[in-house]
Chain length 143, copies 2
DNA sequence: CTCAGTTTGAAATTGAGTTTCAAAACTATG
DNA sequence: CATAGTTTTGAAACTCAATTTCAAACTGAG
């Protein structure tokens, strides 16, 4: 089931309404490859849809996270970022602390070890966060 | 070199002063086993040292992080937490999203794979964050 | 179409984190 | 030990992302 359907079904089951704004925000969000903060997505939307308010963008992103089609990320810069959730291939992040570049990586062996650790403590894992901070190639060359 | 010495040396090299408040906060912080937020440590300190202000606790915790004797943690509850940094055995966290319990774990094989991933992207890693969220034994039994 | 319930967006509020500033404390020097 | 020159402290103010408020606009079941 695609993410648009997941979202619409979530709205229905929660007794919420499908609105023009929500659909526009969903579309823009899914098209975005970047890791947008609420503010950034709001600025992007403003270009084509200047009447959509910040509060609506914020509330809609929370809905995306609630129904599982988005993941909330926190890279320690004081802004929550969102990315479309890909159940197919889960990935984690390399974050350059100098230029802000974000590289996604996939490492199934780490995922496997995580499950092993959780089992060790009889812990039921729902989600995880795994980020490596440092310098990307470009930034480790200069300075 | 112990963490008290590291801190004092850091103060000296930065031209900062060793004060009664900083020493009290350091002592209390190092004694704490928990993962305190600024607010929580401030409340704890207030019991024995009601005249130490919130701003001082905050500034001192930042100093701890700067000189490497503390690590800033962010579990997504909107509060930054600090824990004494153990260079000896690095560890990551299992966070129970129901009762808030935090379990520390060590898994050198994950650390090793991280280095491998970083190399893959010519990325120089300074630090990382790795947290598994879910239910601890106790909380997965009830409800 | 109608109407109750929901959503919207501008503005206000919240709260963690940070900064300000005058008074207090610290350290090196006389 | 006294003094001068910095730094620190703590209360209060400020910042800024996140969240809430509320009247007007919208949605969708009937």
């Amino acid at each position: 089931m695609d993410r648009v359907s997941v979202f619409n079904q979530y709205l229905r089951t929660q007794g919420l309404k499908s609105t023009r704004q929500r659909m526009i925000i969903l579309e823009t969000f899914l098209d975005s490859k970047s890791h947008y903060s609420t503010e950034e997505l709001y600025q992007l939307l403003r270009k084509d849809h200047p009447r959509i308010g910040y509060a609506t963008v914020h509330r809609t992103l929370k809905l995306f996270a609630e129904c599982g089609i988005a993941i909330e990320l926190n890279f320690g810069d004081g802004q929550t970022r969102f990315e479309p959730h890909y159940t197919e291939h889960h990935h984690d992040h390399l974050v350059c602390t100098r230029c802000g570049k974000i590289i996604e990586f996939v490492e199934p062996r780490i995922e496997h070890l995580q499950r092993e650790v959780a089992e060790r403590y009889d812990f039921t894992v729902d989600s995880h966060r795994h980020e490596l901070y440092g310098r990307c190639v470009r930034c480790s060359q200069d300075s």
